[in-house]
């Protein structure tokens, strides 16, 4: 009877295609929105993950996320270095100066000042030039997206100059770091340069980057640092989750994405359910005839679930293909770089589609199960 179920399903071409496209678009929306949601949240901590040399970030006790910095005292660096288990600790500055091109175009930047001696935290993924050139005076490394923003339509080129707070700096390398949450250019320079770009303040140290000694557990060391210095210390992973948590709690991002995802599920359930229900109701006499012939209710349930599973599988595959194409195309674009279709998103959407199709089948199943086979004798 599986063959009969599939022929019944595909026989009504319009409804069959309608069901498949409903599931496909529901799949596309779910995979698209969940992947973008996760991608955007990951951006909130992209500067943290970009620092691969250090494992621990030390900051003001009240710091909740990367963008929110309150300068530490210079002596805090020494205090952190004095904690047992610290292999090394270096300073990191984070500021937001305005960079202006010679032709007047300007943008607020994310400026990271690296330890002058070690350049810890320098971007490793370079498109042009080398991060070691940051040792040159008045040099900066700018990310590709920032370069394109400041020099639109112009080829990537080293040696171009920017003016930052009356300082003329030279681009010595172009990096390709993970996209930041805000679409600002990401600039790396030496600590001593960076503090000049934003104007001297009494304290300037944004973060202390720490490397634990070999064999020392990073989380344990964080606790020790906090206990001994009164500062907040987080592993890179913890700090990244802090950022995600902050944006989840304090912005409309989860609500907006949540609404879209919920609507996708509701529309999927309602449209697929309604179409499937109509499909069943229109075939009710045929189901009655099959029932009268001697097909058991279990077999009918199997037939309807097979129809739902088939529609779900084809629609899900199509939708996943569409989502794959979408991300393949948009991940090449600068504003949407780094947003990828996550396998977790595909898996979760698969589970959601199973539920959509089960809900869609339930109404139809009910009608068929309570159907009196004697209905076939009524003209």
């Amino acid at each position: 009877m599986n063959f009969v179920a599939l022929k019944m399903l595909t026989g009504d071409r319009a409804k069959y295609l309608g069901l498949i496209f409903t599931v496909a678009f529901c799949t596309f929306l779910l995979e698209n929105q969940t992947s973008i949601f996760v991608g955007i949240l990951k951006r909130t901590g992209s500067q943290i993950t970009d620092v691969t040399d250090a494992e621990i970030w030390v900051m003001d006790p009240k710091t909740e996320y990367f963008e929110q910095t309150k300068a530490l005292k210079d002596t805090d660096l020494t205090r952190v270095r004095g904690v047992d288990g610290v292999q090394w600790a270096v300073k990191l500055f984070k500021g937001g100066p305005v960079a202006r091109t010679p032709n007047g175009k300007f943008a607020v930047t994310i400026c990271l000042g690296l330890d002058d001696a070690t350049l810890t935290g320098a971007p490793r993924n370079m498109l042009l030039g080398s991060w070691q050139r940051l040792r040159e005076p008045d040099s900066v490394v700018i990310d590709k997206a920032g370069y394109v923003l400041l020099f639109p339509g112009e080829p990537l080129e080293l040696g171009r100059t920017l003016e930052i707070n009356d300082h003329k700096v030279t681009i010595v390398a172009i990096s390709d770091p993970p996209a930041p949450f805000l679409s600002f250019p990401v600039m790396h320079t030496r600590y001593s340069e960076a503090v000049n770009f934003v104007g001297r303040e009494r304290t300037e140290l944004s973060y202390v980057l720490v490397k634990p000694q070999p064999g020392v557990n990073a989380e344990e060391l964080c606790k020790r640092i906090e206990a001994q210095t009164g500062l907040r210390a987080r592993t890179s992973e913890q700090f990244q989750w802090d950022c995600i948590g902050y944006y989840l709690k304090n912005t409309g991002i989860p609500v907006n994405f949540g609404i879209t995802i919920t609507i996708a599920v509701i529309v999927g359930v309602v449209v697929a359910g309604q179409t499937f229900y109509l499909f069943t109701v229109e075939n009710l006499k045929q189901f009655g005839a099959i029932k009268a012939i001697g097909v058991t209710n279990w077999r009918l349930i199997g037939m309807i679930l097979l129809q739902a599973f088939t529609v779900g599988l084809i629609g899900f595959s199509l939708g996943t293909g569409m989502a794959g194409q979408f991300f393949d195309f948009f991940s090449q674009k600068i504003p949407t770089r780094g947003l990828v279709l996550l396998w977790q998103s595909v898996a979760l959407t698969g589970v959601a589609i199973v539920f959509v199709m089960i809900f869609a089948s339930i109404l139809s199943l009910r009608r068929v199960l309570v159907l009196e086979p004697a209905v076939v004798f009524r003209g």
């Binding site: 009877m1 045929q286 001697g294 076939v376």
Partner: protein, 250 residues
């Protein structure tokens, strides 16, 4: 000839009502009815007299409210739901007024549905259905969808579907009602030629007086009762005992 031995269907004092209290409607009011093996039995009567309800109860599609109906000497109302379905699948064939063919299946596939329901493999089922359709003069429309068939052709497909699994009782509900006289006549001829068999009974519910001449017996029904029974030309065939010839619930 012992009619009890030959009776495929034997209903006694059969009652059926729908609803309760002031809404209660008595549809069958003590029906006594027999349908014999090897015979084409017509069940006739005015609209609303209970014909369709009677064959629904006989088929086990509805439960009676009283009395007894025995099919091949067994009271199927005592069967479990599953046993009843299996009994129906094996022993009953149906022909409906509106054909009730599955629109997405070809003629051969439609005719094969009872075999598919019984678990026969698709190719074997369709091949067998094709041979039945060829016998019914549908050899050139085997792979045609119902929507491309005339009413008479659709009813032949429905007849093939009723015959393909060789049931012992075929129930036809107004099989000619949707057809013109000539087509209805040819369908009844096919039914009489192909369905009537010494081991099989055929019950036809009809209003169509023009096809009465095909009947071996006619039961007239009115107001929920059989009011008259007439035997036309009963086939005098020596019948085997049920228990020898008809295995129940294979």
């Amino acid at each position: 000839m012992n009619t009890t031995r030959n009776a495929a269907v034997r209903a006694r004092e059969l009652r059926k009502h729908f609803g309760e209290g002031p809404m209660r409607i008595e549809v069958l009011r003590g029906v006594d009815f027999d349908a014999l093996l090897g015979q084409l039995t017509f069940l006739v009567g005015p609209s609303g007299c209970g014909k369709t309800t009677l064959i629904s109860v006989i088929a086990g599609l509805l439960d009676s409210s009283g009395g007894e109906v025995r099919l091949f000497d067994q009271n199927i109302e005592r069967f479990s739901a599953t046993e009843r379905i299996l009994f129906r699948r094996k022993n009953l064939g149906f022909v409906y007024q509106q054909y009730n063919l599955l629109p997405a299946l070809t003629a051969a596939e439609n005719a094969a549905v009872p075999l598919l329901a019984a678990g026969v493999r698709r190719r074997a089922a369709v091949d067998l259905a094709k041979s039945v359709l060829v016998n019914l003069g549908m050899g050139n429309r085997l792979d045609t969808l119902p929507s491309k068939l005339s009413g008479g052709q659709q009813q032949r497909v429905a007849l093939a579907r009723a015959l393909v699994h060789e049931p012992r009782l075929i129930l036809c509900d107004e099989p000619t009602a949707a057809l013109d006289h000539a087509t209805g006549e040819s369908v009844m001829e096919l039914l009489a030629e192909n369905a009537v068999h010494p081991y099989r009974a055929v019950i036809v519910v009809t209003h169509d007086t023009r096809v009465f001449h095909h009947a071996d017996a006619i039961a007239h029904m009115d107001d929920g009762r059989i009011v008259k029974t007439e035997s036309r030309h009963r086939n005098e065939i020596e019948m085997p005992e049920f228990e020898d010839a008809i295995p129940m619930l294979a």
